[in-house]
């Protein structure tokens, strides 16, 4: 076991090599019951000058630790004990790993092909009288992403719901292998377009971690500000979708207006409405903060006024509230077992937030605090409340952060180039491997990269926020909800497919 201090924070990275995959799974399962331990990454990773290995990255924010467990398969090993049998968070991951490597996770309940839904055989789960199967998708009404859902209903009651994704699997992880790392960011920005900054930031941090580099605090500060700008328009979008699902036309129009105004702020700030080209590995953006900050803050304040007014009205409208209270309840134990992230988890009373868990030292000067639904009801309404709270916090963080950027004195940390921290490369047996975390509007985004000696990507693993939340949607929809509840529930989850499909 080796302990390495991570760059610029009190977070420690610990590496544990296991002799056999079985030992690894055993060690990892232990964390399933530990309060606040998080499965950040689970998958196969190549090792420079060695066999590919199974890697599990566990985050233990309570102990300020990130644990890297890895183990190589023994010669000719074609099976290992499944992790998801004990920790359901890995269900979809192991399906994907099985399809790619054909190393069997023994004990996995459902090993249908996931990456190629067109080859997938149908699985009938619900049998009985009056059970009716309702397939929905992949081309659904309204402007939405392509995915497929299979409802089993009895009368109006939804008995079971299976989401099937990967209709848009673009194979980004393997496409990137061999790319120079500065080119990888174009793909990172396009993993999920509405989480451009979150993915670009996670990618940049992963690269910097892999190469043992600490960027200048100003660059990190820019990432924080861009990340919050992204959160604003995404939360406005999710709220607008919720309003439209509940049939509130005026609210929907007003909220989508708020979203458009946020996008325009972004566009005027850095040229791209989706904040493309703003976050790069090793570099800051070329925005002249001192000149724009006052305008941006003023515009954000205007936007905030309209948004709060609209939310106040929504809170007092019974037809809206009634659609969400008690709809799509996510139980706390599900949230824990499936490792849900983002507003969905925080609505269950779980303070899962990268900003709080791993980046506290960077966020603490921004008046940031994590928004959790104390009651932990986990219904659609709690998700609404959490998003509303986050909007407020984001506004505060932004005002603070923008002012810091405009007149903050960042020079104490030396030149803008940042500093090199070589200590990491000596210790880790996984060489030039790094992890990058960021909090997207939908939850935790985690990138694991491995670079070869020329700075080309040898491996890239992406775990988007929605990947942890999709399996829970099925459970939340099925238990005690009727068909008409589905649109509000789906809107309140605010999931994206692109990040999961990659």
């Amino acid at each position: 076991m080796k302990v390495l201090t991570a760059q610029g924070s009190n977070l420690k990275h610990v590496e544990r090599q296991h002799h056999r995959i079985g030992d690894l799974v055993h060690a990892v399962v232990h964390f399933a019951s530990e309060e606040s331990a998080q499965l950040l990454y689970f998958g196969w990773i190549p090792k420079t000058g060695g066999w590919s290995r199974l890697l599990a990255v566990i985050g233990r924010p309570k102990h300020a630790l990130i644990e890297w467990h890895h183990a190589a398969p023994t010669f000719g090993q074609t099976a290992y004990p499944s992790l998801s049998a004990r920790w359901p968070a890995a269900l979809w991951l192991e399906r994907e790993m099985w399809e790619l490597t054909k190393v069997l996770p023994v004990g996995h309940p459902d090993l249908r092909a996931i990456l190629h839904p067109e080859n997938q055989e149908e699985r009938i789960v619900v049998h009985g009288d009056e059970v009716f199967q309702l397939p929905l998708g992949p081309v659904r009404s309204d402007v939405v992403e392509s995915m497929f859902m299979r409802f089993d209903t009895q009368g109006e009651q939804i008995v079971h719901m299976q989401p099937e994704l990967f209709y848009k699997h673009r194979d980004i992880e393997r496409l990137a292998v061999g790319l120079l790392y500065p080119d990888g960011r174009f793909l990172a920005e396009r993993v999920a377009g509405t989480s451009t900054i979150a993915h670009a930031t996670a990618y940049a941090r992963a690269i910097e971690h892999a190469l043992g580099h600490v960027v200048h605090p100003k660059v990190e500060q820019e990432r924080i500000v861009f990340g919050e700008l992204e959160r604003l328009y995404n939360h406005a979008h999710d709220m607008a979708q919720m309003a439209s699902a509940a049939g509130m036309t005026v609210a929907q129009a007003q909220l989508s207006r708020v979203k458009e105004e946020c996008l325009r702020v972004n566009g005027d700030l850095c040229g791209s409405r989706y904040l493309r080209n703003a976050v790069l590995p090793y570099k800051g953006s070329d925005v002249e903060w001192a000149q724009v900050v006052s305008t941006v803050i003023r515009r954000l304040r205007d936007i905030n006024g309209r948004f709060t007014q609209c939310l106040d009205l929504l809170r007092r409208t019974p037809t809206f509230v009634d659609r969400f209270v008690g709809a799509g309840i996510v139980k706390q134990e599900w949230a824990r077992a499936y490792g849900t992230v983002g507003p969905v988890a925080r609505a269950c009373g779980q303070p899962v937030d990268v900003r709080e868990d791993y980046l506290r030292d960077r966020y603490e000067q921004q008046a940031y605090r994590v928004v959790v639904d104390e009651a932990g009801t986990g219904d659609g309404w709690a998700r609404f409340v959490v998003r509303a709270g986050e909007w407020e916090i984001s506004q505060r963080v932004l005002t603070k952060g923008l002012q810091l950027l405009a007149n903050g004195d960042f020079m104490e940390a030396g030149s803008l180039a940042g500093t090199q921290d070589d200590s990491k490369n000596d210790g880790f047996s996984l060489e030039r491997t790094g992890i990058g975390l960021s909090e997207s509007p939908r939850g935790r985004v985690c990138h694991v990269v491995q670079l070869d000696p020329d700075g080309r990507l040898a491996f890239w693993g992406i775990r988007a926020a929605s990947a942890w939340n999709w399996p829970v949607l099925g459970l939340a929809v099925a238990n005690g909800n009727i068909q008409q509840d589905f649109p509000p529930i789906e809107a309140s989850f605010g999931l994206s497919c692109a990040g999961v499909d990659r």
Binding site: E118, P138, V143, Y167, R170, R174, G193
Partner: protein, 160 residues
């Protein structure tokens, strides 16, 4: 190069609207299909219906079913999985039908052009009437492109 019709002229807009009405019967219904995008393009397409762009004022509407659609708005890098679905959707549309490819992914593949899971530009599967570049294209470009696709089909008739 780019056919930027001068929409300044109100006449042109009126003409377009009246032609649109003649051919498609009062209004134009748009079916959007995502064949592998990153969600930013969808977000921009959705923006068309917000109060800023309000494309309903031009007689354009989103429709739930391809069977009622006049325009198929395709976004994203086509994956092998979505290819047959795109073709099916296209077949389900009544004639005359227009196809608009929006976003670099749909036109060329963009950053995904070398992916094993990229099945080629939309043009390689179905005929495309208008191309809207940009990653993602702005809502202005989308309105402009859709109107131009209608305008550009001079010879379009009810059974084209």
């Amino acid at each position: 190069m780019d056919n930027k019709s001068d929409w300044n002229e109100l006449d042109a807009e009126k003409q377009a609207a009246s032609r649109l009405r003649r051919i498609f019967g009062k209004s134009l219904h748009v079916r959007h299909i995502d064949v592998g995008s990153c969600n930013a393009c969808e977000s921009e397409v959705l923006a068309l219906s917000n109060p800023y762009y309000n494309f309903h004022r031009l007689g354009l509407f989103f429709t739930a079913s391809p069977r009622q659609a006049d325009v198929l708005l395709v976004t994203g890098a086509m994956t092998p999985t979505m290819k047959p679905i795109l073709m099916e959707t296209y077949e389900a549309m009544p004639k005359p039908r227009l196809v608009v490819a929006a976003g670099v992914c749909a036109i060329h593949g963009g950053v995904f052009a070398n992916s094993r899971q990229f099945a080629g530009p939309v043009e390689s599967v179905i005929p495309v009437d208008a191309f809207i570049p940009g990653c993602p294209p702005t809502p202005y470009a989308l309105i402009n492109g859709i109107l131009a696709a209608v305008n550009g089909r001079e010879g379009v008739t009810r059974d084209a």
